[in-house]
Every structure is written in C-alpha cells, then in structure tokens.
C-alpha cells in the first residue's frame, strides 16, 4: 500500500504542524487521522491531499510518501515500528523520535532532533541534518539505543549526543560536540568536526577528517588501520574515567 500525502499549499503556515500520527501502522486503519496546528486539531485531509494505492494487512507493506513544503511538519514517524516513510523534500523537527523499526528516507534536509532516542530501524537523510541528530533529549540519560542513522550531507551540533547503542554515519562534516556523553554504539564522521566525544563513557567514535578543538582529556594510544584510513586512537574521556574509544585522522588542540 502506498499512501501519498501532498501538503496543500494553503495549509502552509508559520506555526508548525505536529504530525505524530503519520506513521505507517496508522494507515492500516484508513486515513482518518488528526494532526495539530498550535492548539487546533485538524483532519489529515485538511492539510494534505491524500491518496492511497493498493492495500495492506501488515505494517511492513505500508509506504507513506510526503511531498510539498514539509519543512514545518514535526514528529513524522514518531514511535514508528515498521514500514516506510519517504519524504521527497525537507522535514521538520523530531522526525523518527523513538522509532523502533522500518525505514525513513529524507530526500532533502532534516531539521533538529532527527531520530531522537531512536531504538531501531533505519533513517537515511540525503541532505543535511540539523542539531541534535540521533541524540538524546533534555536531561535524559540515554539517547539513541539502536538502529542506524545515515546522513549524506552535514550534521549540526550535538550529533549523537548521549548515544548508547546503534550506528550513526555522517558523510559530510559535523558541528560542535558530536558524541558528547556517548556511552555506547558507533559514531562515524567522514568530514571534520569540533570537540568530539566530550565526557564519553563508552562506545566508539571515528572522525575521518580533523577533530578541531580536540579535548585534552583523551589519552593517545597509537595508530590503527580502519576501513582504509590510518587513524590515531585515543581513550577517554578520562575526565570522568570514561572507557570510550575515539579515533581521528588528524586533530588540533585549542591554542
């Protein structure tokens, strides 16, 4: 079953639309779903032109395709546990929160908190992801615990903050503090980033570019070969007796 949701140009507004109901599973029972704009509840078809092709009994067989100016559409795919969501353009904040299964593909850019606290499944972002991609949430002790997030563009600050499991791969550069408070899982940044691994307790963080503002609380161990890269291996963050592994191609301490 393929559900196509085309955002109506008239439904565009400065106030974001909260669309946690857009999850493949929900469409097994039809398209009569609510979304919210501020404190107003709207029907899905007040915001989107909705069309459905085919039918399905299982979540895995549902694909939802979103088109139009969806950059202010929040929480799409929250708690998603299977099926597929394809966003042809950009997507708003909190896409794939708490996701545990299935696939989300963002063809454009993603706003903040893409895949926050995700537990399983796959998110692919063809463009850039903003801050807190694959991160935990305010005050929480555990961020992402499983699954995969792959960003082909750049990622913002606090990438994979508090990650405890799963894999995050960014093909471009990342911002400040990737892997902060990391306690498990794997983070790979193909480009450059600033201050990776701050206060990490466990897990592995790879930087194939240059780590700027490298933290002085990591102990240098030696060089290793990894996927065709020669990387310098550090252990830390020793500020709090962390047992993480940080691998960087090159690094610069702050002056």
């Amino acid at each position: 079953m393929k559900v196509t949701l085309a955002l109506k140009p008239a439904a565009r507004s400065f106030i974001p639309i909260e669309a946690e109901s857009i999850v493949p599973k929900n469409f097994l029972d039809g398209t009569d779903l609510p979304v919210w704009r501020g404190n107003r509840e709207l029907r899905l078809d007040e915001v989107f032109s909705v069309s459905v092709e085919g039918d399905a009994d299982r979540t895995e067989d549902v694909e939802v395709v979103l088109s139009g100016e969806t950059f202010r559409l929040k929480r799409v795919g929250e708690y998603m546990d299977g099926g597929r969501v394809t966003i042809l353009g950009d997507i708003g904040m909190h896409c794939g929160n708490f996701m545990s299964g299935g696939t989300i593909e963002v063809r454009g850019n993603a706003d903040g908190w893409l895949g926050r606290e995700m537990a399983g499944g796959t998110i692919v972002c063809r463009g850039d992801a903003a801050d807190y991609c694959a991160a935990g949430y305010r005050g929480g002790r555990k961020g992402m615990t499983g699954g995969t997030v792959e960003v082909f563009g750049r990622a913002g600050d606090f990438l994979a903050e508090n990650i405890a499991g799963g894999t995050v791969i960014v093909h471009g550069d990342a911002g400040d503090m990737p892997g902060a408070e990391m306690r498990g899982g794997t983070l790979v940044v193909h480009g450059d980033c600033r201050r990776p691994g701050a206060n990490m307790k466990g897990g592995s963080c790879y930087v194939y570019g240059t780590a700027q503002g490298m933290l002085p609380t990591f102990r240098k161990i030696g060089t290793v070969q990894h996927e065709g890269h020669t990387l310098i291996r550090f252990a830390g963050d020793i500020a709090n007796r962390g047992k993480g592994n940080l691998f960087v191609k090159a690094y610069e301490y702050l002056d």
Partner: protein, 566 residues
C-alpha cells in the same frame, strides 16, 4: 452565607477521640459548626470513611531548591502531563512536578495543609510565590537556621535570648512558620569544604558544636512560644552507623512543652542506620523506636523510601556531595550567604539494591515499632524518599502484613538478615493511620488550635471523604482497596468547598499561608540592634530594608502572634 451538610459520614477524628462514629458534619462559611439550616447543600457520605483534611508536616514542594530540582531534571517533566481543563492549569512532572501538579495530586489524596520542610530565609520570596500557586492547600514554611552566623555567634557567647531574638526577627521578616535545623553546623562547615561528623564536632571559625546549636535553639524556640517545636534533620544523614549520632541528638532534648513535643525529628529513616560501612549496613530502627517510646518530648516522621525514580533535595549540602560521589549523576550545590546551603541530585531506589531494600524496610519498621502513632508520622520527606503520591501504598504496607510480605519477596534477598521487618506482625488500624496523616501532624505542628487536623466546631472545614467503608473491607487482606481509596477521595472539601471529586480537581482554589510573628520586648528587637544591623549591612548582598518579604506576597495571610518571654 454558604452552608454544607455532610450526612452519614463514618468519622475518625483522633484529636477529639472519635473513632468510627457515624455522624453529620455541618459547615458554614468555611468553618465547621454545630448545625446548619435546611437550606444547606447536602452531601451523602453513605458511611464512607471520613477524616479531617490531610496534613503533611514535612514535604518539599515550593522554593528555590524544589525549582532547581525542576530545571536540572527536564526529563522529569515528561511524566505526569495533564492538559489545561476548565479552571485547572496544565501540569507536568513526577518527582518535582509543577506547583499545580503538586497541589492537584495532594488534593485528590485528601490533603489540605502542607508544610514546606526547608525555606532558606534569604530566598523566602520564591517559596511564598510558589505557595500562591499551590492553591488547594494551606501552606507554611519551616525556616532554616542551621548555619546562621548571628545565631552561632550568640550561641558562642552563651546568649540564648539573643538567639531567640534573631529567630523572631527572621521569622517575621520572611513570613516563616517554624524553625528548621538541617545538619546543624554541617552546612556551614561545608562552606569550608568540611562537614561535622556528629554533635560534638565544632563548626569551623564559630567554634560551636551541633549539640550546642540544637540545645540553644530548642530553648530559644520555647522562649518565643512558637506553635511548632524545633524541626531537626540530624547530622550525619545517610551514613552507615549514624543511629548512634541520632540517639545522641535526641538525648539532648528536655521536655519543655506540655502541649506538644519539644523536638520534631524528621525523616528518621535516613538516620537509623547501623553498620560501619555499606558492606555491613543494617537497620537500627529498634533502638530508635525504643528510645522515642520513652520520650514524649520527641515526635518523628518516617521519611519512607519507596522504589523508583525521584529527586533528593536538602539544605544538607555535604550529604548531597557524598551522594554525588556514589552515583556520579548530575548534582547541584548551592550556598545561601550567611544562612545555609543546599544540594540536589536525582536518584533511583532499586529493589535489587541491598542498601535501598534495607532503607525501604527501616521506614516501615519505625512506624510499626514506635508504640504511639502520635510519635511517628507518615512522610516520605517528599520527594527525597519517594514522591508523595506513594503515600497510599505506604498506608497499605502499614495496614497489611500480607502486603509487606509480598513486597519483601521482591527485594534483595540479603535484606532479611539485616532488618527486623519480617518478624513484625503489627498492622496499623484506620485510627492510627488517621493520626499519622492528619491529627498527629496537626498536633505536632501546633496548629490544632488554629482549626487544623480535626472536625470540631470552629475548625476549618477541611474534610476528606474516602470511597471505602471500614465495616466492609479487611485492610489486612484487601490492601489494594485501601490503596485505591487513599489514592482518590470521593470528596475533598477545603474551607467548606468541594475542591476534588473522584480523582478530579474542580476549582482553582485560593489558599492561606500561616506564619509566625513573635512579640518581643524593645530590647530584643533586632531591627533596632546596632550590632545586628551593622553585620547585616556588612555581610549580606541585600540591604536589610529589602530583606523582609512584604505581606503582598502572601495570598490569604494568617499571622500567628505569640507572646515571647524575652
């Protein structure tokens, strides 16, 4: 003129010696009266358990410390979310909810009066501002004097009357209700990077000991004729073997007041530990309970720990630092100038953890081993031992051996060898629970004459009607029914108005704050004392004239004037 008549109520009213009598309760303009006219609105209680409104004599719900707990734990706000609804505000939070969250949840459980356990005088405005937004309970604040420089100097000089004078001036200035000592001397020592290990260690610079602070302030409290006694959080909280320090502190207290206790020892569970370290940690509830049994001058509260997530917060800064070193989680530490300090860390008490399991047992033991329920009141030191929403479960545990055994089977297996709990057969009855949750609390706070904690004519019409009939339920076996009943009243009546019904709050409410203004002679008016004024201007960051909390900060203002003997 508003009249209300509660008919067929099965009343337990311990302060008037009433035990399960079916009667009517007449209410006129917010007060209990002998009778009302036929025009009165009628509520038929149909034989349900009816008690005076609940009183919590030690809880942390308002003020800078609580609020810091809120903003250092945004994750706590993910729980307990309810939307705005009619006159009700939105709420969120579990262990440190919004003020409305606290107020609504307490109201649904039948609580109508709350004492904030620790208000730093300098930060009193914040507490009073939050009191205004805790609309369904009358409020009052214990005021911290554990590290007050002026008081420690007066104690060093042996001048108890000056101690009393400083307390009088401060209570009036900050609209405080009672005198709280948290780890007396220890928080001041903490400003020097130290702590006091027990009551005989001198505080750096001031060279007074906790024992001298406790004794002198207890005397000063009685000189001022305050409604409540000194409210003590003993030194050495949370350390193995601290029970001997607790006994030493309680042993300092003479019997100075015939109407109430002379010392209120709070959250004694945290102070009843045996052993020499965490490896041989064990319960010492028995010696504490026996000691209290023999001393009518002492009242304590449980400080029960319940399993789950919560936030610890106290003026005991050094203790929180020790906790931080155990858990390595987030921690806040705060200094309050010439007065006190505080610390906060979130914790999770786990059944599978031996120390936590023993703590859980100790609180229950204190309540079950202390003979008189008037001397051991039901609290969790909310939220330190657990959020107050756990009170109904604690009532269930105290009333049912079967429930205790069922819970005991789920905790750390080594607990049995370290605690007396499994051998305790006692099951508290409805009357004892009524004492421990309202009557005893009102008496200990000295507010029964102000119309709290009982249903006698003239009392504030604060009533809790629980959806349970004593003659139909055996609490020993049907503890779940007891828990359900105490979790949500059929009706909570506050100042003569139904404020909650079957788990739903109905009105926005408007509360009163009780505070104390002791009348002292001209010679002991610290507002005119040159030395006090000079020190104030020299050391505080605020001007003395800006320090007092204006009465505009209070909602309904109930000032208690006392005749001081100085």
């Amino acid at each position: 003129m508003t009249e209300l008549l509660v008919k067929n109520a099965c009343v337990i009213d311990p302060l008037r010696g009433i035990n399960a009598e079916t009667m009517d309760i007449a209410i006129l303009d917010g007060k209990i009266v002998e009778e009302v006219s036929d025009a009165a609105e009628v509520i038929d209680a149909r034989g349900m358990l009816t008690l005076p409104g609940g009183v919590d004599s030690h809880t942390h719900i308002c003020g800078t410390k609580v609020n810091f707990g809120r903003y250092m734990s945004p994750e706590d706000m993910r729980a307990g979310r309810t939307p705005r609804q009619g006159p009700l505000h939105a709420t969120s939070g579990y262990s440190v909810p919004t003020t409305y969250g606290n107020s609504y949840r307490y109201s649904v459980m039948g609580y109508t009066t709350l004492l904030e356990g620790a208000m730093a005088p300098l930060e009193a405005r914040h507490t009073h501002e939050e009191f205004v937004y805790t609309p369904l309970q009358d409020t009052m604040a214990n005021t911290l004097f554990d590290g007050n420089w002026g008081i420690m100097e007066a104690i060093r000089d042996g001048d108890t009357k000056r101690v009393a004078a400083i307390i009088a001036w401060t209570l009036r200035a900050v609209k405080g209700f009672g005198v709280k000592l948290t780890n007396p001397g220890g928080t001041e020592a903490w400003q020097w990077g130290k702590n006091v290990s027990c009551i005989r260690d001198p505080v750096p610079y001031f060279e007074v000991t906790p024992a001298e602070i406790i004794r002198s302030i207890v005397e000063a409290n009685e000189l001022l004729g305050l409604p409540h006694s000194v409210h003590l959080h003993c030194n050495n909280l949370g350390t193995p073997g601290n029970y001997s320090c607790t006994l030493g502190s309680l042993g300092l207290i003479p019997d100075l007041n015939e109407k109430r206790q002379t010392l209120y020892a709070t959250h004694v569970q945290f102070h009843a530990y045996g052993g020499s370290d965490w490896k041989d940690f064990c319960s010492k509830s028995e010696p504490i309970a026996r000691f209290v049994d023999m001393r009518p001058q002492i009242v304590m509260d449980m400080g029960q720990v319940m399993f789950g997530r919560t936030t610890t917060m106290t003026a005991d800064g050094p203790m929180e630092f020790n906790l931080y070193r155990l858990h390595h989680e987030k921690w806040s530490n705060h200094d309050v100038e010439l007065e006190t300090g505080s610390g906060i860390i979130p914790v999770i008490y786990r059944r599978k953890n031996l120390v936590n399991s023993i703590m859980w047992a100790i609180g229950l033991e204190l309540a079950l081993l202390t003979k008189s329920p008037w001397q051991c009141l039901l609290t969790t030191d909310n939220p330190n031992g657990a959020p107050f929403v756990k009170y109904p479960e604690i009532i269930g545990l105290l009333m049912s051996k079967k429930y205790r055994d069922a819970e005991f089977a789920t905790i750390h297996p080594d607990t049995e060898a370290r605690v007396p709990l499994p051998a305790i057969e006692r099951e508290l009855d409805w009357y004892e629970i009524a004492v421990m949750t309202r009557a005893g609390q009102a008496k200990a706070l000295g507010i029964q004459d102000l119309g709290k904690g009982h249903l006698g004519p003239g009392a504030d019409a604060d009533v809790a009607i629980y959806p349970i009939r004593m003659d139909e339920v055996d609490p020993s076996a049907e503890y779940q029914k007891v828990i359900d009943a105490f979790s949500r009243t059929e009706y909570t009546i506050k100042r003569g108005r139904v404020v909650a019904r079957r788990g739903e709050c109905l009105v926005d409410g408007s509360n009163a704050t009780f505070w104390v203004s002791p009348k002292v002679s001209e010679a002991y008016d610290m507002g005119k004392d040159p030395d006090f004024i000079e020190k104030f201007d020299r050391y505080y960051t605020v001007r003395m004239r800006n320090y007092p909390v204006q009465e505009e900060y209070l909602n309904r203002n109930r000032c208690i004037e006392t005749e001081a003997r100085i």
